[in-house]
């Protein structure tokens, strides 16, 4: 407000000093001119009173000249040069100047230095008087006297001295001093008043506020242009009118008339401010919002002589202030309603300003807040502090919005969730200097969100099928379980009618009916069969109910279904299993009993029990196993009960039981503990293995006998083959001895004297019969030995211990071929050895097998064509099958089966051998879990196959 009153721009144009102000100086000029005229006249009339008066006039003129020295000097010069009595006038002028000028100089110095604060009118005038008196005495009279003496050619000094001593103008000097002092004071005060009034006028004219001045009676005396504009009254019209006519004010709100401030000032004599909300009604009736104040005007004596009232138009300011206040109020209301806080953080100083509900959010009053970021941090939950600072740093460094959700701890310990959002505010250089934003308490929302989220998730993940429809049965929600079952997306179902779930073909329950019933009765419950995504029926236990709002009005329908397919299946399976068990129990060929563990009381037995034991069912159920003495050895039962009760089921034990007939039954026994009415019972299953045991025993004996027989036989074969050879050694040995003896005898006879006579007679014996007999003896012995050797090998082949291992047949076969190299060369045959698969067997035995076969192949080659023997092999179905193929004489199909028989040889005389080779081969191969067979075509050749277990692992190596 004040700035408008004191604005230098507004005051400047009127404050410019004026060079010439006629109303001030004209008075002095007139007075000075008159004085000059009077003194001119008085010169012409010497020693008249006028001359004296003229000097007074110079006193006044001196002031005028001093104040306006340029115009005064001009006037003095004019007077000096133009008057007829130039010299006397000049002398008078100088005489007057002689006291006026020093007095002026001294007063000015003294005033400026000492008299500034003195009461203006009295001290200034008194000082002037004294000064003029002194200067007049000191300079005026001596100077005048001196000049007079010079002019009259009189001695100067005596005149000067008489001037000092006589003081001829003392009375004059006193009068001049008094008059000039009075004139000075009057001049000064008038001058000051005029100046001040002039300034005030200018101020009033130029001021931006309306100013009305009244006299003591409250009538308008002054009115500046602004006031004219505001009131609508011109100065000329308003002057002299009562203030209330010109300055009509009312309360802006109520419209009631308000006391005029000027009147209050006049009545109370104190400065008053204007009441707020004051409206000024202008002359044309328009209203303006004004602000005003009034002050009393007093004269020098302190008497109340009027009042001044200053006012200005605040309509716009008032309106904007009102609007601002309204805005602020609305903002406050909004912040309050939104429970929102406002904050402003100065980054450099760290000062934080809070507004709105910020402090309330933190559970404190505004005064308690320390105004620093540290204080804010101290109230944040420790776990969230770092994150908050990171977000702030990010806002500062990257300039993005500050957005943070965090917890605070209120002084009462309550933890609340807050959401603060802010933006950086930058200075001219773009550097963020502040961050300002808002804070909201989102605890409730968060809680509700969490709750909602939890509910949603629960609903989503629940195993049950949940469907919500409107009252018409149009689907509004399905959970995941529904979608999963139907293999559809929620979008495919929402908005469709529930009949998309399909109607139940078994019960005929239609979805439409279910919806209708639920709507009518509030609830429907039943079993529904749907078809799942895979087309399989899904049995659902469903509840459909009406969802009602708080007032009990139905708003939706909800169906909750549980998949009971498995339960149904399980029930069915259980029923079936019970039936099965029951049937199994009744018809089992095994004896099954259920007895009470503690005393052996028989609870149930099956048909087999009655058949085997000889007791009827009734007899059994009326008694206990102990009483019936079913157990041959009671200790067995005790042990069994202990075991099964300790959780060790008995499986496959052998116990002896006693039948009704007293006969012993050996049972293969299994038992478990079962609980009937919380009482441990033993479920026993007994397989009557009496006959089997007996058979087993017999078989065992038989086997033992057989083994003994076998061993005996082996021994017999062994011994026989061994012992039978001893005589052969003699037979052959001595036959040989005999041959030698016959030879000796022959030679002796040849040398005898009568050899010619004897020789012809003994010649048939010596040369033919005896050698022939010996030859037969030796051949037979040799043949016998061959057979025995074969038998021995056969018996050995059955006894040799096998060491089964993976065999690299390529290596083995090479060895076999190498060993027979001589024979092969001799026969001229070609042996082709192909790559062979590995097998499992005993290296020595397998070697023997293939040696025999190769030997056979070489032996039975056709002498008419070059021999060709191929050894090959392949894998098939876990076996390694080897082939030895020759192009020999072959075997008649009729004999093929016989070649593996003992002592069979195709052409006994054609080839040497004991005839046991293939028999041994067959026996060995069979011992090795393999098989051997042959294919042949007489005259083309034979193929012998040997199959042995394959060795997979070796092949991989």
């Amino acid at each position: 407000m004040n700035d408008r009153l004191t604005s230098p721009e507004q005051l400047a144009p009127n404050s410019r000093p004026r060079w010439w102000r006629p109303d001030d100086v004209s008075l002095f000029v007139v007075l000075g001119t008159l004085g000059a005229a009077a003194s001119y006249l008085s010169v012409n009339i010497p020693h008249t009173e006028v001359f004296v008066e003229g000097r007074w006039v110079f006193g006044f003129l001196g002031f005028a000249l001093f104040r306006h020295w340029r115009s005064a000097l001009l006037l003095a010069c004019l007077l000096c040069v133009t008057g007829p009595h130039k010299v006397p006038l000049g002398i008078v002028f100088l005489g007057n100047m002689s006291y006026t000028v020093p007095a002026m100089i001294v007063l000015r110095l003294v005033h400026n230095r000492f008299l500034v604060r003195l009461p203006y009118w009295s001290a200034y005038g008194a000082a002037w008087f004294v000064l003029v008196l002194v200067c007049y005495q000191a300079f005026h009279t001596p100077l005048i006297m001196t000049i007079m003496a010079l002019l009259r050619d009189q001695p100067v000094w005596p005149m000067m001295v008489s001037g000092w001593v006589e003081q001829p103008f003392f009375i004059e000097s006193v009068l001049v001093g008094l008059l000039s002092a009075a004139g000075l004071v009057a001049f000064r005060s008038h001058d000051a008043l005029k100046r001040s009034l002039g300034q005030m006028d200018a101020t009033l004219q130029s001021i931006g506020d309306g100013v009305i001045v009244t006299d003591a009676a409250g009538r308008v005396s002054r009115l500046n242009p602004v006031a004219e504009a505001l009131t609508g009254w011109s100065f000329s019209e308003a002057v002299g009118r009562p203030l209330a006519d010109v300055f009509r004010i009312v309360n802006a709100k109520t419209g009631e008339a308000v006391d005029n401030p000027a009147q209050r000032v006049l009545a109370g004599g104190v400065t008053v401010g204007l009441a707020n909300h004051t409206s000024l009604i202008a002359r044309d009736g328009s209203r303006r919002q004004i602000a005003d104040s009034a002050a009393p005007i007093r004269d020098a004596a302190g008497r109340l002589i009027g009042a001044v009232m200053v006012f200005r138009d605040v309509t716009e300011a008032y309106q904007s202030a009102e609007a601002l206040a309204e805005n602020q109020r609305q903002l406050d209301l909004a912040l309050q309603a939104a429970a929102m806080g406002v904050w402003d953080w100065e980054i450099d100083t760290g000062r934080v300003k809070w507004a709105g509900q910020q402090a309330e959010l933190f559970g404190i009053s505004g005064d308690e807040f320390g105004g620093t970021m540290d204080d804010v941090q101290a109230r944040v939950h420790p776990d969230d502090r770092d994150r908050g600072m990171e977000a702030i740093q990010e806002t500062i460094t990257q300039g993005n919005d500050f957005d943070n959700v965090y917890r605070i701890i209120r002084p009462d310990g309550a933890i609340r969730w807050m959401h603060s959002y802010g933006r950086p505010i930058r200075d001219e250089s773009g550097r963020p200097v502040r961050i300002a934003g808002t804070t909201r308490d989102i605890t409730e929302r968060k809680r509700a969100d969490d709750q909602l989220r939890l509910q949603s998730l629960t609903l989503k993940q629940i195993e049950d099928l949940v469907t919500v429809t409107d009252l018409d049965g149009d689907i509004t929600y399905v959970n995941e379980a529904v979608c999963r079952m139907l293999g559809k997306e929620p979008e495919e179902l929402i908005g469709r009618h529930v009949s998309v779930f399909g109607d139940n073909p078994d019960t005929g329950a239609r979805q439409e009916d279910i919806v209708g019933q639920a709507r009518e009765h509030g609830v429907w419950r039943g079993e529904v069969t749907n078809y799942g995504a895979d087309g399989r029926p899904v049995v659902l236990d469903s509840r459909v109910f009406l969802v009602k709002d708080e007032s009990g009005r139905p708003i939706a329908m909800c169906g909750v279904s549980t998949d009971v397919t498995h339960r149904k299946q399980a029930e069915k399976a259980l029923r079936r299993s019970e039936e099965k068990f029951s049937l199994a129990f009744r018809t089992s060929p095994y004896v099954i009993t259920i007895t009470r563990a503690k005393d052996g009381r028989i609870v149930d037995v099956n048909q087999a029990f009655t058949t085997v034991s000889g007791y009827t069912r009734e007899e059994a159920l009326a008694d206990s196993s102990v009483n019936l003495r079913l157990w041959y050895d009671e200790n067995d039962r005790d042990q069994l009960i202990r075991d099964v009760l300790a959780g060790r089921p008995a499986v496959g034990r052998e116990y002896w039981f006693r039948k009704k007939s007293g006969e012993i039954m050996i049972g293969l026994f299994s038992a478990h503990v079962i609980y009937l009415d919380d009482e441990p019972h033993v479920l026993s299953s007994i397989n009557d293995i009496t006959d089997r045991k007996r058979a087993e025993q017999e078989l065992g004996q038989l086997n033992a006998q057989l083994a003994a027989k076998n061993a005996e036989l082996e021994q017999v074969v062994y011994v026989a083959s061994h012992d039978l050879r001893s005589p052969l050694v003699n037979i052959d040995g001595y036959a040989r001895e005999l041959e030698q003896s016959i030879a000796d005898l022959g030679r002796t006879l040849a040398g005898a004297p009568n050899a010619d006579q004897i020789r012809p007679r003994v010649a048939p014996y010596l040369d033919e019969d005896i050698p022939e007999a010996l030859r037969f003896i030796r051949t037979s012995a040799y043949k016998m030995d061959t057979l025995l050797t074969g038998l021995l090998r056969l018996s050995r082949s059955g006894r040799a211990a096998l060491s089964i291992e993976p065999l690299d047949m390529n290596t083995l076969m090479e060895r076999v071929v190498d060993a027979m190299e001589f024979q092969i060369k001799e026969s001229g045959a070609e042996v082709i050895l192909e790559d062979l698969p590995a097998c499992r067997g005993d290296a020595m035995q397998v070697n023997q097998v293939f040696s025999n076969l190769l030997n056979n192949a070489v032996k039975y080659l056709d002498p008419d064509r070059p021999g060709r023997i191929r050894i090959g092999g392949r894998r098939e179905e876990g076996r390694a099958v080897y082939l030895i193929e020759d192009n020999g004489i072959g075997v008649e199909p009729a004999y093929l089966d016989k070649i593996f028989e003992i002592f069979h040889r195709l052409e006994p005389t054609a080839n040497q051998g004991e005839g046991l080779g293939l028999t041994i081969v067959k026996r060995v191969v069979e011992r090795l879990d393999g098989s051997v067979w042959a294919e042949s075509e007489p005259g083309r050749g034979s193929r012998f196959y040997v199959a042995l277990p394959a060795a997979g692992r070796l092949e991989r190596q």
Partner: protein, 156 residues
């Protein structure tokens, strides 16, 4: 052939063989091979053990004499294997070279004899020629081995 014999004449050849024919053949053929040492035949295992352990009524072995034992495996009463075992068990008799002469060529039997400590093993072939050959080999063998004396110094 006689000139081939180098075996010390004092070494006595003991033949334990139940078959007299075999013994005869051995004897004849050793003689043909030039072995002229004294040769004693025992008809079974018991007899030879009696001789070696100086028991019974029959002849007893002499201390300080050198012997070579030709032993058949299959014999009545005590068989050759047992004789071999008993001989090799005895701290003194174990020095006695034992040559098994038997009709069997069962490898396990051969192995067993060697395990028990026989010096050599000869199978009796039915083929007379082979037999002769084998015995002659034996003769050669006997000619070159050093036969230790039993209960005495070693012979040269």
């Amino acid at each position: 052939m006689k000139g081939e014999s180098h075996m010390h004449k004092d070494v006595v050849i003991l033949v334990a063989e139940d078959d007299e024919g075999h013994a005869g053949l051995i004897k004849r053929n050793l003689a043909r091979a030039g072995i002229v040492n004294h040769l004693m035949v025992f008809k079974d295992g018991q007899d030879i053990l009696d001789f070696l352990y100086r028991r019974g009524d029959g002849p007893h072995r002499q201390s300080g004499a050198a012997y070579v034992l030709l032993l058949d495996i299959r014999m009545p009463k005590v068989d050759g294997l047992e004789v071999l075992e008993r001989v090799k068990e005895d701290p003194e008799l174990c020095k006695l070279p034992v040559i098994m002469i038997t009709t069997t060529d069962d490898p396990r039997e051969v192995e067993r004899c060697h395990a028990l400590g026989c010096s050599n093993y000869i199978a009796k072939p039915i083929d007379y020629d082979n037999f002769v050959h084998a015995i002659r080999h034996l003769g050669l063998f006997l000619n070159v081995v050093q036969v230790p004396k039993i209960n005495g110094e070693q012979t040269q």
